[in-house]
């Protein structure tokens, strides 16, 4: 695993690049660990409160530990009318967790999201940012069992 300091200092010269650093940290750890957030604040010359304020403003960023696979269910209107609610229920019951939770084995985290821009194939979920198209409740076990 790359050192979070290398990740942050590799981007330090990008003006206003703290959000880029947060993205890079999330690609590595799936969330922004506290020590890394503090280090990023130092590197980009902002207070810890400011860095925390930025990280928590954006729904794509998380300061809370998450699972290996982050499932995000789109619940915007086009996915809503295509049956997003049933898909959410199916995922919750398959994984035995509620929205916002992580499975006990640390494998899956379930989140809601607004439109992810793949509305040609609603309803849509993303797994670690990869979209999965035309998801039906019945397909949920098959789709999720592919993630090892």
């Amino acid at each position: 695993m790359a050192n979070y300091k290398d990740i942050i200092y590799g981007l330090k010269d990008k003006r206003g690049g703290i959000i880029e650093a947060f993205h890079a940290l999330q690609r590595e750890y799936n969330y922004i660990p506290e020590e890394a957030l503090e280090e990023a604040a130092r590197a980009f010359g902002v207070s810890q409160a400011q860095a925390y304020g930025v990280a928590t403003f954006y729904s794509y960023l998380s300061v809370k530990k998450r699972g290996k696979y982050i499932i995000r269910m789109c619940e915007s209107a086009p996915c809503h009318v295509a049956g997003a609610d049933e898909v959410i229920k199916a995922i919750e019951s398959y994984l035995g967790i509620k929205i916002g939770e992580t499975t006990a084995d640390g494998k899956f985290t379930l989140e809601l999201t607004e439109c992810v821009g793949q509305c040609q194939a609603t309803p849509v979920i993303t797994v670690n940012s990869e979209p999965v198209f035309n998801v039906s409740a019945a397909q949920v076990p098959e789709i999720l069992s592919a993630y090892k």
């Binding site: 206003g16 690049g17 947060f22 930025v54 729904s59 794509y60 086009p78 607004e114």
Partner: protein, 408 residues
């Protein structure tokens, strides 16, 4: 008239958007060449007279916007690829099919306003588009086509409000994406306080064609006051939920019945929401309207991003609008009170109505609240948030009343 007119998407899937040479083979970068030989004032005048208006929703004349940029040592060209409006994916399609046209368009703008640096602000949900764009930029730089104009891609992180141009600028600067007070407008004091032109992907990508084929030619396509083509994305209960590029005087009914192939499963039409989740819901009697900016405005709707959400007769409008009200509560940045508090109350009242616990007084309250928000909210998010509610109370009031307590 039921044909598409492909201008930006003419070579879709026939060229590799990452490779500058592919694009050059079909006439690419000729527009930039021409722009560079022109006097700056004439170039801006050319774009102005093409009638090209912003495709990001506000419909402002692009050349006019550029003409306000004052002299300064450093200026920036910023492309808005935040595309957060639910039901919209046209900017992604333009990048995936014709990214080089976007780069060329940004460089044309750079020539017009004398900027050497562009930024593309790409939404966080599109990491694969970031990758594509970085390759496209590398290839364009290597080919020499971009000259000394540089472009950097920055990523958003899942905040709808960052599509608003000043919030977008805050975000590139590494801050929370909260809109700024205007004026000053970005054209005067934008990114890091210097003059900055912000345009939508589709706006930039139209520029190469305006330069090569001429402003007069462009101005003659589609609706005279909002000329050119528009990329639409169809969702909901249509047989053909995909994207199309049409001239701007295309008829809304034809969008649904010809391009969209009509309503799915032989059902009847109920409503269409144009412009994404912040748009108005339009009933059957208004379908014979041209999709251009002004015609949509005249029926109390907005073309917006060009998203078209079609609902069949079985859909529960009040339930859908309740979902939409949650969207705005979630996406309000909280900077100003009318929106922070207003989107919360809208959602609360919509849930009350939707669950059959409301009375006529709640309907009156929500309409009053909508008025306050439209006038007092700081940015377009809070101003547009009540539109789905007010437009459906206006056109589908019976569906609301059916859910009120005294009728239950």
């Amino acid at each position: 008239m039921a044909e598409e007119m492909r201008l930006l998407l003419e070579h879709a899937d026939k060229i590799d958007p990452r490779i500058a040479e592919d694009y050059i083979k079909v006439g690419g970068y000729k527009g930039l060449e021409k722009a560079r030989q022109m006097d700056r004032k004439n170039l801006i005048q050319e774009v102005k007279s093409s009638g090209l208006r912003g495709r990001g929703g506000a419909g402002f004349n692009a050349g006019m916007k550029w003409s306000f940029v004052p002299p300064a040592e450093v200026k920036y060209v910023v492309c808005n690829l935040d595309e957060g409006e639910p039901g919209t994916y046209k900017d992604r399609i333009i990048c995936e099919k014709n990214a080089q046209a976007l780069l060329e368009g940004m460089a044309i703008c750079g020539t017009a306003i004398e900027s050497k640096q562009g930024y593309i602000y790409c939404r966080g949900e599109y990491p694969f588009v970031v990758e594509l764009l970085n390759k496209a930029i590398q290839s364009a730089k290597a080919s020499g086509a971009l000259g000394d104009f540089d472009i950097e891609v920055r990523m958003g992180a899942g905040a709808y409000v960052c599509g608003e141009e000043t919030a977008l600028i805050e975000s590139i600067e590494g801050h929370r994406g909260e809109p700024r007070f205007k004026p000053p407008f970005p054209g005067v004091a934008g990114l890091w306080g210097v003059p900055t032109v912000v345009n939508n992907v589709e706006t930039f990508a139209a520029l190469p064609y305006i330069m090569t084929k001429g402003a007069e030619w462009y101005a003659s396509i589609g609706a005279p006051k909002y000329p050119g083509t528009k990329v639409l994305t169809l969702t909901g209960d249509v047989n053909n939920p995909t994207y199309f590029e049409v001239p701007t005087n295309y008829n809304l009914r034809d969008v649904i019945y010809k391009l969209g192939g009509g309503i799915k499963n032989g059902k009847k039409f109920k409503a269409v929401q144009v412009g994404g989740t912040s748009g108005a819901f339009i009933p059957e009697q208004n379908l014979d309207t041209s999709i251009d900016f002004d015609s949509m405005g005249a029926i109390g709707a907005a073309l917006g991003s060009g998203a078209v959400l079609v609902l069949d007769e079985t859909r529960d409008i009040v339930d859908i609008v309740t979902r939409i009200s949650k969207f705005f509560e979630h996406e309000s940045c909280g900077k100003c009170n009318p929106c922070r508090e207003g989107t919360f109350r809208c959602r609360e009242i919509m849930e009350k109505i939707n669950s059959g616990r409301a009375t006529e007084a709640d309907l009156n309250n929500i309409l009053l609240l909508a008025k306050v928000m439209k006038r007092a909210a700081l940015c377009g998010l809070g101003q547009a948030a009540p539109v789905p509610i007010t437009s459906t109370i206006q056109h589908f009031g019976h569906e609301y009343r059916r859910k009120l307590l005294q009728y239950a």
